[in-house]
Symmetry: C2
């Protein structure tokens, strides 16, 4: 029996994530890296770090933990529990424990930073720990054991170990080899097991499934169907092998996708080089590494282990705000200051839920909660300049902690760039006054903050796009590979009635298993401050006109309902009973008396159709509604709970919202779930064209009038002069 090579052994990771090369983890590296910082090994010519992370300091209360801070947390933890040194205790995530919102809101540049704290999710002797470490005092201030069901986010070590355990099983290897797969081609992927009742309780388990990478880097299209091993992560043993017999392994031909080795002819006329050019450079500033200033916006952006990217304290300047000047007020004159006004305290993808639609023994458990089970941050590979983000993009690194508490730098994890796509922010052509020749049109230029994460086969891109008119658009774009299933069939005609079983045939011996994606965003809206926000449901209601009153028989009349409690704000969207949803500050009224507000505008969407008593849906219960509003509670950040791995669904947004707290004129959090049903087709093979979905946060009576009415059009004289590179 061939021994799997070390390279192959270490190439073990979950079908929805993999961390290995990200961490460039090889034995002995820990002690060897510079200044305690591990940086991805092969940076490539396009990766230059802008920041010297070994000496970086926090500048803002929300800045993520620095390399030095992570090292200090490690030292404090070692003191608290020696198991962190011996390996019997492991760090599963470490992130800034953000200061109280009130303190952050009051903080101004130049002030001393509020005390820095870290929240550590750890595992020690099979118990989950939520530990708060105070960096100023050097003490562990709390250590809560098993606050809910579930285990902390998985580590890369968990994935490697699970694969190693499976591959040590003679029975498992025999099953692989019986299929004609050489162990040197084997890719063993530990996958998350979900939670399906008492049977699986009381121990951490992972399920290892297999692919072959023979003749292709796209092993995802070459599943070794019909086989998996369940690994007990406490006892480090295989507790079950499911082998349902041989299924043909799909061919390698046609699966290659790398440009350098591509030989597939494309019948397409050449597209000339095209780019977004800004010869004077981009218009935004990044202060102290995380504070972004652009046009009328200021916000804080940072990388996060779990959410991937977090936007905080988004404020927009209001050109019409009138600041009473005591000296001139008497003359009814006021100063227009362009006051920055609070829109959103914090926004991020809080949890993902990806249930697959195959109840069979080999697939039933596949229903992933990516953010809480493995984290979007470590899977965010460096963005490729020019291709993942356009020219003039600015890149920000992520800094995380490894399982033993050392710092790891994830370079170029976030990019910022200005987008111009040829669209208009507003336009009007007026034909009434011919002599004036009014044809007004203003190009739409926006600022995008982007993070792309490759959770194994799927690549998700998250964009936060800021417009000068006050609108924020959040877009999730999905690409990458399908998680496919092997099948004996090569043609639809052979399938007969079976063709609808778990998905369509998308290549010979390849079934694209039907699945859903739901992404729930935490949107802590703070319209003109954290307090005094309410949630208004604005409802166009069909009215029947009494006979004889009007030639019309019906019309829509808009009524407004203020949500009193959380259950009033459990919203199922409907085309036939539409509402607008506004977060308003009833204490901040416009000149006309309208409360300042922001609307959430759903785009195309899909909802989970699974039964509410189905275990995956219990754990993904945050997808039961498309919109929720909860009372602000600093512990309620992650919609699937703090401890998600094998969780029972006892700490979800559904549970919190069912407490039905008052949400009127309070500090409230808006949640929005965006979704896709994915019924695969041939075009998704061997790599999927990008599919995107968006929602918008749009000012509604927040400004006194259209805030961009005075913005300038583009003039020829302002535009660059360009020539092809070759001729320069």
């Amino acid at each position: 029996m061939a021994e799997p090579s070390l390279a192959r052994l270490s190439a073990l990771f979950f079908g929805f994530l993999l961390l290995l090369a990200t961490y460039s983890w090889v034995p002995g590296l820990h002690s060897g890296y510079l200044s305690g910082t591990g940086v991805r090994k092969t940076l490539g010519p396009d990766l230059k770090l802008r920041v010297d992370h070994s000496s970086a300091k926090p500048h803002h209360p929300l800045d993520p933990l620095t390399v030095q801070e992570i090292e200090r947390v490690r030292a404090i933890l070692l003191d608290h529990e020696p198991g962190f040194g011996s390996g019997s205790a492991t760090i599963h995530s470490m992130a800034l424990d953000e200061p109280d919102k009130k303190r952050v809101v009051k903080w101004k540049k130049g002030n001393r930073l509020p005390s820095r704290r870290a929240e550590v999710l750890a595992l020690s002797s099979g118990q989950s720990h939520v530990i708060i470490v105070d960096l100023d005092s050097g003490r562990v201030v709390s250590d809560v054991v098993n606050p809910t069901s579930g285990y902390p986010i998985l580590t890369m070590d968990d994935l490697i170990v699970a694969s190693q355990v499976a591959l040590k099983s003679i029975e498992f290897n025999r099953s692989v080899e019986a299929r004609g797969v050489k162990l040197s081609d084997l890719v063993a992927l530990p996958t998350f097991t979900g939670w399906f009742g008492p049977e699986e309780e009381g121990r951490r388990i992972l399920k290892v499934q297999c692919f072959t990478s023979q003749d292709t880097p796209n092993y995802f299209m070459r599943p070794i169907e019909g086989l998996y091993a369940t690994v007990d992560m406490d006892k480090l043993e295989v507790i079950k092998i499911v082998d349902k017999g041989m299924v043909p392994i799909p061919k390698a031909a046609g699966t290659e996708y790398r440009y350098n080795v591509q030989n597939k002819p494309v019948h397409m006329d050449r597209i000339n080089p095209i780019s977004i050019e800004q010869p004077e450079g981009p218009s935004f500033l990044v202060e102290d590494g995380h504070l972004v200033k652009w046009a009328n916006w200021v916000f804080h952006v940072k990388a996060d282990h779990r959410a991937g990217m977090i936007i905080s304290q988004a404020t927009v300047r209001d050109s019409e705000t009138e600041k009473p000047n005591s000296q001139i007020l008497m003359f009814t004159n006021v100063e227009r200051t362009g006051e920055p006004r609070s829109v959103m305290y914090k926004g991020f993808p809080s949890e993902l839920f990806v249930p697959y639609m195959d109840p069979g023994e080999l697939w039933y458990y596949k229903s992933y909660l990516d953010a809480g089970e493995i984290g979007l941050g470590p899977a965010a590979m460096p963005l490729v300049p020019l291709n993942a983000c356009p020219r003039n993009a600015y890149y920000i690194d992520g800094v995380f902690a490894s399982p033993d508490g050392k710092a790891i730098v994830q370079p170029n994890m976030i990019c910022l760039f200005e987008r111009y796509a040829g669209d208009v922010s507003w336009r009007h052509s007026e034909i009434l006054i011919p002599s004036a020749d009014i044809r007004e049109s203003r190009p739409k230029v926006t600022l995008v903050a982007r993070m792309a994460t490759s959770v194994g086969n799927y690549d998700y891109t998250f964009d936060w796009e800021f417009q000068t008119d006050g609108l924020i658009r959040v877009t999730v774009a999905a690409s990458g590979m399908l998680m496919v299933k092997g099948t004996p069939y090569e043609n639809v005609d052979d399938l007969g009635d079976k063709q609808d079983e778990s998905g369509p045939l998308i290549s010979e011996n390849v079934i694209g298993v039907v699945h859903d994606h739901f992404i729930t965003f935490h949107l802590d809206m703070d319209i003109d401050g954290p307090m005094n926000n309410s949630f208004d449901k604005v409802h166009p209601e069909k009215q029947r006109v009494p006979t004889g009153k009007s030639p019309r028989k019906s019309y829509l009349k808009v009524k407004k309902y203020v949500a009193k409690t959380e259950k009033d704000a459990q919203i199922k969207l409907s085309l036939y009973d539409p509402y607008e949803f506004h977060v308003v500050n009833p204490n901040r009224k416009s000149r006309l008396g309208n409360p300042a507000g922001y609307r959430i505008i759903p785009g195309g969407n899909a909802v989970s159709l699974l039964d509410h008593d189905d275990p995956p849906q219990i754990r993904g219960a945050f997808s039961n509604n498309q919109i929720w509003v909860t009372r602000y509670n600093r512990s309620e950040q992650f919609a699937g709970g703090v401890l998600v791995y094998q969780s029972h669904g006892d700490d979800t947004l559904q549970v919190w919202s069912d407490r039905d707290r008052s949400i009127e004129n309070n500090d409230i959090v808006l949640w929005y779930t965006l979704g896709f049903h994915h019924i695969p087709c041939q075009e998704d093979y061997p790599v999927m064209p990008t599919v995107a979905a968006s929602f918008e946060l749009k000012p509604a009576n927040f400004f006194e009038s259209n805030p961009v009415i005075g913005v300038a059009p583009i003039f020829e004289k302002d535009l660059p002069v360009c020539r092809p590179f070759a001729s320069s």
Copy 2:
């Protein structure tokens, strides 16, 4: 009493359209213009005509009527009915009567054009005529009188005449002046009257409402509320004046939007110049004025009086099509030809429906059908280079007929450009094979065909966007001005219970009346040819798993239903009962046996909530469903009917579909309705930020695999070198 000036008198048009300056219609101009062509008078420095329209000839069976052809139709009509010369008969629209689809499909470049015919909608002695003129034989081949209820599309003359009639009424003028409005500031807008039963039958009527343009070009924000005159267009007399008494006229301050006279400070950091640059020029070709070739796409584009812009014969090259070569077939070898395959025969916005939500005497009738009542073409002002379309855009003119049959050129009505917004067409980062450092990402470059029409206050932009992966995205973007209502109130607190009457207060004395927009697209999909197309409803259905069969309790199973008849394809979208909708060619199967197809993917949408017996909804019945599929019938192009003005709704898509014809394995047409509810807010004043909605046509098992897998990434060496204009 001051006499309204000629300039003001001629500045009369409908609140949802105006034609005047577009046509540059001044007395005596008809005989004076060059080669029979009227061109917009003030072209401005940015308008250059690429085509010598006086000598232009048709090159393709679908090319629009040329100036010479329009002149010839006019001559033939004069011969047919002398009333066209004397003015007792008027031409309301003239367009190419497209040849039979079969002839067009067979036609190849170099072949003789099929005989050229024109369809003329005319009015003669109060009767509607649909006239077909054959240009080759020089004969009128048919002249059908009053085929349905309704009158032809309005002309500019209709609008001018209606205003003139109203302004000749002493009573009407007295009502205006009683409000303190000088007639020299008066803007009298004829508006479409809809149809509300027998009372309004048997005569053409228009309703004239008023605004003041005192101190602003944005008279739309200064309505003279409470007053309108109904004009009988046959007798040319005012038949009714409704005067509900004085309402304060909203102030002019804050309504200006022109950049040149703007003095509103905007507190916003400067955005540096930005543009989409292609130093080697754009990659598309426009052959013979209308045939666009780009990347893997070929399509025909033309301006249209009614639809604004029509896309025809969209075909996409298929890199994987295997053309059996008789010589090599025996060796199972095949030639990959990049065969162009038919996707869509014809696509265009077929009708718009814009009902306002105020049943009062002054507003009840406002429920516009813009395409059929006035036409999107003449209201499409020339696009402004750099601002309405980006650099390197290519512009195409429209050619229409005037009411007396002379040709009019509408310059720069359509633009074509390549879009790049920093997004990806697909991506994958692979961490399994560290040594390979796989981070693949392909920029998304698309081709856009754009038309923007200013139907009075509203500006609609229509984009057809073509992607290299075979996807077509259609976007409607709305901007411009609201149609607002005067009110005595200046503050929400004064309104009390009345605040919900017909819309929110958006400025002092200004109510933004709630309204809807529905745009119904005609999408004549011809997947691999006109015949043998079917409509598949692909339905993920929730299955309950029998207890004990699986740890899962539910999952989705996809079933497919083929729509047999038109009623099977009257689709109301639902989040909770979702379907995919595919137009497929069951006779064209993929290698795997899947039928070649295209999906229609709705984006965010809204539906009409009006009662089905409400007169506006009867006429706008095409909005009763979001998707319809009908049997192809060349006369069923415009969803609101051929004759829409004052139509009774007896010739709509609903009526056609209710015939319930067979649509399986046939030549079929897909219809999609996209909608917005618009509850105005302060930010919509004095001009609205753009709101956009889209739908997509996406290949589904049309290609054997992802068609862009082999497309190249961007390399630094291919990109331009730019410098600021000033330094050049």
